[in-house]
Every structure is written in C-alpha cells, then in structure tokens.
Symmetry: C2
Subunit: 246 residues, 2 copies
DNA sequence: CGACTTGTTGACGCCTTTCAACGTTGGTGG
DNA sequence: CCACCAACGTTGAAAGGCGTCAACAAGTCG
C-alpha cells in the first residue's frame, strides 16, 4: 500500500512543443472536448494561447497542492489523478482520458496530482489566459460547468462504490464504467483496455493489489470476463451489470 | 444496513409559502449563498421567481433520478444527500447546510435524494426559470461554477476518506470537517452540533452504526472528544487532526 | 406506564488485508 | 543466445478490523 513517489520524474518544462501542424481545426479530440462549443474564429483565438505538451510514461503533469499555472486538454493517452496521505496511502480519484479537461474548476491550486500512465499528449493553456477567455465567452463557461456537473456525478458514483460495495462489486463496476467511458470517445467494445496496473486499480477502488488480482481471476474463472494481456474481455455483461447494479 | 425508505414522507407541494416578509435583501444566508454575487436589482428579479418551501424532519425535498423541476437555496436546517442501492445499502454523499445550493449542475435529473434532518427552510426556483437567469448573468454562472469546484474538492476528500482511512480516522475526520463547515457560516466552536443520527454518519463514512458508536465512545474515553447530547465537544484538536491528517 | 426509536456494548465470524513465496514478462549486457 | 534482474502479477496461509447478531440502556411520545 505504500507508494514510492520518488520514481515519478517531473516533466521538464522545456519539453513542450509548438502547436500542432494543422491547428485546432483538425484536433482529434475537438468534438469531444470543451472546445466543441467554440466557433472557428474562437478556436483560432484559443489556439494562439495553446501549446502541445508531451509526457512519457510515469511523468508527472502536475502535483497536488502546486500553484495551478496551467490547465490542460488531454489529446491522447491516459493519466491518473491521485491524492496521497503523508504515510503513503494513496487514493486515485479517477483516470483522465482523451477529451478530458484538467483544471476544470480554474482554482488557484491543483487538488490532485496527475501522472501519465503511458505516452500522453496534452494541449496546455496558461490558467490566467484561459480564465480571461472564459470570462469573455459565457458559452465556454457553461460547457466547463456542464463537465463539472458530470465529474460530480462520477464522484458520487465512486463514493457509493467505495463506501458500500464489496470487492467483487467494485471490480465489476470499475470494468463497466471504464467500458462506458471508452464508448463515449472511442468505440464501444466488449474488450476493454486496461492502461493502468493492478496497484492503480487497487488505489482507485480502495482495495489492495492482491484483492484486485483475486477478484479479476475469480471473475475470469467464473467466465464473466476473460483476462487478456493489457486488458479484459467482458464475456457476461448481464452478470457484471447485476453485480455493479446501481 | 438496510434502510427503510418508506418512512420518508414526500413533501406535499401545497406546503410552499409565499416569499419571505422582507424579501431577499434581508435573507439570512444571502451573503454566504450564490446570491452574494448579485446586485440589488438582480436580487429583485430573482426574488420574483422564488418561493419559500418549508420541510419537517424526515420529509423528502427530492428523490434521486426524479425530473429536476426545481433548484434550491438552503436557508435554514440541514439535509442529507444520499444514494440508494436496490438492496437497501445507502451512501450519504454529504449534508447540505444553510447557504448551500441544491441543483448546482442544473442537470435534467437529480443525482441524489435530499431529505430533511430536522426543520428546513429552502428558497425554491423553477429550474428553467433559474437557468434562464443564469444564461443572462455570466457572473452568477461563474459563482455556481466556483461552488461546483468546491463540491468537487469535498467529494475528492470524501473519496480519500472512504477508500483509504480506518474507522477511527473516518470519524475524526468527519467531526473536523463538520466543524470547519460550520465555521464557514455560523461561528467557529469546539462544540460541534450533530444534527444527524448514528446511522446517517455510518452511511456517510462507509461504516456500520455500531462501528460509529464504538469509535465515538473510544475517542470519548481517550479524552479526544466529549460526547454531549446532540453533539460533541472537540477536546484534543491536535490529536484529532493528526488522525485526520491531509 | 408501555411501546417505540435511538444508541451502546459484547461475542463471534467473515471478508479483506497482511505477509510471503513464486511465476511471468521485458529489458540489459555478457 | 541466454543469464540476470527488476517490475508486475498471482497464489496461499494466517491475522485482524470491521460487520453481524443479539441484548440491553436511555430517551420520547402516546
């Protein structure tokens, strides 16, 4: 349960690149990000303030409690959003997928740490710059607020899971929720990629790594799922849904 | 753990009263509610759309999944915000105090149920009406968004608590967080009122009623707190804070 | 006063954690 | 090519924290 945070290198700020080749207009996540509410002229305005920032596996985008100098759109890859207790216990609040926005609340300080689970590409804005654009564009603020409402709903579901579900139910619910989030962006599939390790799942579900492993293998032996390298195939959706029923 | 929901009477919709005697200008929670960002002229505009709605102990203001026809400012009293699993397991996501806004996200449906823990007074707005006002007043939207950010931070702290804290730490952290929330509105005090019962605390902390009772009495015997009728006195704040650290 | 609700306390049991060993995979260098 | 090593995942056995069950106390209301 004790996490070694020393292994997470900070992202060198020299690592950011210029904006993408063809600009926001071709951005792969534009239609699923907050930018989807912007007109082309507005996109160009925002583009002038943006930089691409690329992370490698294990790098930290920002740390809990740090001054929030930037906000980010995730373009590719997955990050974990976590909080640490002084004694090393960790809780992962969620995973950020392409199209997600980091820094929704536009608060002074980051309330969580964000670490790349693999190669990650983000679109970075200075927080002050971005806040100024938001100030001038109420429909962008409205879009951020809608996302915040969605995040709040997810957080509530996670609280119910953490407080009132058994280990098996937690794992089943996690797999289904991940599938649903992929469906919102990529395409629906019964094969769910698991970019995070067992320890990350455990810290997300309030379990230990051993219990996660046991439950996954129990579900596998019961033919509810099939463990495959790097992911799982969901074989018996009705059964999983019964376990995860809300 | 099984909750009897049948005992919660629905609030009769005939029960709402006209607006308050002296209007929003004297509202006791104006300065701590979302209304604090409104000018007097705007207040009057909002006042025309508002009604007071009074609940008694145990009455339901709205239920999870219902069409969100109204949004509310809590003027007096405390409500619990909960979600129910089909088999009766319950998770209380939080408690709404005076000054809190219910329906922050302005979503189609309520994501939780809200029940009065005692006599409650609310200021009710039709959701569509309120959304129209918000549409016209970006600074009100901004205020809502800031509150949503605060709620998100609270939710994250609760996730850490539910996932990674022991029973004793949960209870200590709960008492301190309640004290801090009272301090934001009422006045700071080492005596913390507990308007909710043991079952409510248990369902908020992911414990059973017996464990909550045991931990409270253990803290009492250790002279960290003093149990008094209807509340607790926090005797050893440093020790409690050490338990609840971070 | 008796019925009811709410809170406390004890004994016991189980689910999850803890501790430990082992297997697997992938990268590195001889 | 293969030994070596570290990181990750799996599995078993034992321990413990919290839940379950049950009885009892205290306060409330008719």
């Amino acid at each position: 349960m004790l996490i070694d945070t020393g292994s997470c290198e900070r992202v060198p700020h020299a690592c950011h690149h210029g904006r993408s080749e063809n600009g926001c207009a071709d951005c792969k996540v534009r239609l699923i990000s907050v930018c989807s509410v912007l007109a082309l002229a507005e996109l160009e305005e925002l583009e002038a303030l943006s930089q691409h920032l690329i992370l490698e596996k294990g790098q930290t985008l920002f740390g809990q409690g740090e001054h929030a100098g930037s906000v980010f759109n995730v373009i590719a890859g997955v990050l974990r959003l976590s909080r640490l207790l002084p004694d090393g216990r960790r809780q992962i609040m969620g995973f950020a997928l392409p199209g997600d926005f980091l820094g929704l609340a536009l608060q002074e300080r980051y309330s969580v740490s964000a670490e790349a689970l693999g190669p990650v590409t983000t679109c970075r804005f200075g927080r002050e710059d971005f806040a100024a654009v938001v100030e001038a564009k109420p429909h962008l603020l409205k879009s951020l607020h809608e996302r915040a409402g969605y995040e709040l709903t997810l957080a509530q579901e996670q609280m119910l899971l953490l407080g009132r579900r058994t280990a098996e139910e937690k794992v089943a619910a996690f797999l289904l929720s991940l599938r649903e989030r992929y469906a919102r962006t990529g395409h629906a599939s019964v094969t769910v990629e698991l970019p995070m390790g067992r320890q990350d799942m455990a810290d997300h579900l309030g379990l230990t790594i051993e219990t996660v492993s046991r439950m996954l293998n129990r579900l596998d032996r019961a033919h509810a799922i099939l463990l495959v390298p790097g992911g799982v195939r969901l074989l018996d959706l009705p059964r999983l849904e019964r376990m995860a029923t809300c």
